[in-house]
Symmetry: none
Subunit: 209 residues, 4 copies
DNA sequence: TATGAATGAGATTTCATTCAT
DNA sequence: AATGAATGAAATCTCATTCAT
C-alpha cells in the first residue's frame, strides 16, 4: 500500500528484492526464512521473486554474491597497496573490520548462514580458501629466512580463523574495531615468524617457566 | 502381544536414541533430518522419541550436550595439569586435536550444524565462551609482566578462532594432527606475548623492511 | 465429522482411499483433480494420501492397477474356456462388455485418463499391446488356411480398436450391451477371414455395383 | 522505440501463433504447455496471445479447429467421389492414412491431447460423431439387402474405432500406410455384410471346427 | 512401556491472466 | 498494435507432533 506496487525497471526491483532478502535471511536464517516473508518485506508478490531469481536457493545465492562483491570492493578500495608492508597490513585489517562493523547484520549473518547451509558451505569455503591462499602467499613473501618445512598455508588457516573470530566479535559489537585491528595486526605480524621452531627462542624468554 | 518390541532400561534406550540421532544429524544436518529418519535409525517408534526428548530441538540439544560432555571429559583427562606450562599446553592442544581427529563425523559436523541453527548458536556460543575465558585466564597467568591495557580476552578469542579453524582442517583430513598441534602450540605461545606494543620489537627484526 | 476420523487398519484405509481417488479422477480427470479433493472425498487428511501412496502419480497408478486387476479377474472368470471357439468368443465378448457396462465411471474414464496422461499412456499402451498380441494369436490359430502374407497383428490392432470404440459406446450408455456384443462377435469372426484378397469374392457379391 | 517489434497483419500473426501453439502443444501436451512457452516459440508477448485468443483453452481450441479443418480439406480433396464405391473407399482410406502419415506430430498428438482433456473431449467427440454418421450412411447405402434390424451406426462406430487404431499405428510409424490401407479397406468392405446373420454362413466355413 | 495411525500447518513453486505504458 | 511488469490463486508435498490402543 504505502510502499509501491508500481512498475519499476528490472534493475531497481532486483535490488529491492535483494535488500529485503538479505534483511530477512540475516535475521531469521536461511531455513527459518520463508519466501512469503521476503516477498512481504519487499512489498511485492512471491511470483516476482521466482520470476527474478528462480528459487529460494538461487535467491540466497544472489544475496551472497552481492554482499560478497560489495565486501570485496569496499575492502579493496580501502587498502593502501602503495604503503610499506606493515602499513599495508594495517589498512587491510582496518578496512576489513570496519566493513564488518558497518555491515553487521547483513554480512556476518549471511556469512554464518551460508557456512552452515550445506548448499552454500561450498561457496563460502571457496571464498575462504582464496583468502587463505592470499594470506599464505603474503606470509611466505614476508618472511625473510623461512624455515624449509614451514607450512605457511596452515599458518594462514589459523590466522584467517583468528580473523574470523575477531570479526565475529566486532560484528556483535562485543569488540572495539580499533583495538581488534591492533590485535589482528600484531597477530599477523607475529604469524610471519610463527613457523614452528624459529619462534621458540624469543617467545619463551618472556614467559613464566 | 500387540504392544512394544522390547522393554529396555531407560538409560540404554536413551543412548540408543542419541546414537541414532547423532549419526543422522551429522550426516544430513539439522534441518534435513526428519524425526522419522531418526526413529528408523534407532529402530524405535517416533512417539518414543517424543516421550524421551519432547521435541526435535531438545533432542538435538541432548545430542550436543552428550557430545560436548564426552569431548570435555576426554580432553580433560588427557591434559597433564601437573606439567610445566609449555608441556601442559602441548598436552592440551594434542588432546583437543586428537579428539577432533578421532571423532570427525560426529563432533565437527554437529558443531557446525549447531553454530548455524539459530536455536543452538546459543549453546555453542556459550561453550566457546567458556573456552575463551579459560584460555584468557591462562594467557593472563602465563604472562610475566602484562601490559596494563592488554586485552587477554580478545587475544583468547583470536586464538580460539585459530584453533577452530585448524581443528576444522584436521576434521576434514586436510591437516596432519601433529603438524597442526605444533603450529597451534607455537601460536598460543606467541599469543602470550601478543599484547600490542610488547611484540613489535622482536618480531619486526625478522621481517622484510 | 460424520464419516470417520477413526483408526482403521491399513488395508481398509487403502481401499477407502482408492475408492475416493477413482471416483474423483473419473469425474474430473487426472490434471483437474487435486489431492485435496481426493482427501476430502476419502474424509481423511492429505498427508495420509502421501503416507500411503507417495505421490499423486503413484496414487493414480494404484487406482489404475486395482481397476485393471478387477477387470481382468472379472472378465477371466466369466469366460467359458471349455466351450467351442465361437461360444468361447461369445462369452469373452459378453464378459468384457458387461464389465464395462457395470463399471462405467471407474473403468472407462480411468482408461481414458490414463491413455492421455503421458505418465500412464505407457501402462495402458502395454496393456493394449498384450491384448492385441492375444487377439493376434487367436486370429492366426483360428484361421484354417491363412494367406502367407496375412498381417494378423495389424488385423488385431483394428479389431481391438473397434472393440474399444464399442466399449466406449457401451460405457456411455449409448449402445445396448447385447447388440454390441453380437456385433463385436461378428466382426471378430469376420476378422478371421479378413486377410486381404480372400474376402473379396464373397463380399463384393452383396454390394451395390 | 519502446513499443512493439513489428506490425504484422492480423492474419499473419494468427497463423504464427497457431503454428507455435500446435508445435508446443504437440510436443508437451496441453497441461504441460505454458502460455509462456507458446509466446516464446511464437516470438511475441503473452498479452498478444490473450488479445487474439482470450485464453489457453480457446487457443487450444483454435489449434484443434485449424488442424481439423486442414485435415478435412486435405482428405476431402483427395477422395474421388465419382469413382465406383470400392474405388471411392480406397481413395478415402488412402487419403485419410496418408494425411496421418504426413502429419504425425501435429495431428495425432493434438488429437490424443484433445481426447483426454475434458474440455476438448467434447470437440473431438463431435468430430468423430460426424465421421461415424458419414460412415454409417455409406454402410447403409452400400448394402443391397439390409436386414431390418441392422444397426449400421454401431457398425460405423466399430469401423471408425478400428480406423483410429490403425491410424495411431501409422502415426507412430509402426504400420505401413499401404498395408494398413488395404486392411482397412477390407475391413470396411466386410463391414458391409457384418450384419449378424448374413455373415455366418460364409465365414464359418473357413474356420476351425 | 510402546506404537501404528493420523493430522494441522506451512513451504516451495507454477500458472493463467491482467495492468500500465 | 504491442509488451514488460506484476500478481491471485492454487497445487504438490513434507514434517513435527499427537492420539488411541
Amino acid at each position: 500500500m504505502a510502499g509501491g506496487t508500481k512498475r519499476l525497471p528490472r534493475a531497481v526491483r532486483e535490488q529491492q528484492m535483494l535488500d529485503a532478502a538479505v534483511e530477512i535471511f540475516s535475521v531469521n536464517g536461511y531455513h527459518e526464512t520463508s519466501m512469503d516473508a521476503i516477498a512481504a518485506e519487499a512489498q511485492i508478490s512471491k511470483p516476482m521473486l521466482y520470476l527474478y531469481y528462480g528459487s529460494k536457493e538461487e535467491l540466497f545465492g544472489a544475496c551472497l554474491n552481492r554482499e560478497l562483491g560489495r565486501f570485496v570492493d569496499e575492502v579493496n578500495s580501502n587498502i593502501d597497496f602503495s604503503a610499506a608492508p606493515k602499513e599495508l597490513l594495517r589498512t587491510a585489517v582496518l578496512a576489513f573490520l570496519k566493513y564488518i562493523d558497518a555491515n553487521r547484520a547483513s554480512w556476518m549473518v549471511l556469512y554464518t548462514q551460508a557456512t552452515s547451509s550445506q548448499a552454500f558451505a561450498h561457496t563460502v569455503r571457496e571464498g575462504r580458501e582464496r583468502i587463505i591462499e592470499l594470506v599464505g602467499r603474503l606470509l611466505r613473501s614476508g618472511t625473510k629466512f623461512p624455515e624449509p618445512d614451514t607450512d605457511f598455508e596452515l599458518m594462514a588457516v589459523a590466522l584467517v580463523g583468528a580473523g574470523e573470530a575477531i570479526a565475529s566479535r566486532v560484528s556483535t559489537g562485543d569488540a572495539d574495531v580499533d583495538e581488534a585491528a591492533e590485535l589482528m595486526i600484531n597477530l599477523f605480524w607475529l604469524g610471519l615468524k610463527g613457523a614452528p621452531s624459529a619462534a621458540d627462542v624469543d617467545a619463551t624468554a618472556v614467559i613464566s617457566s
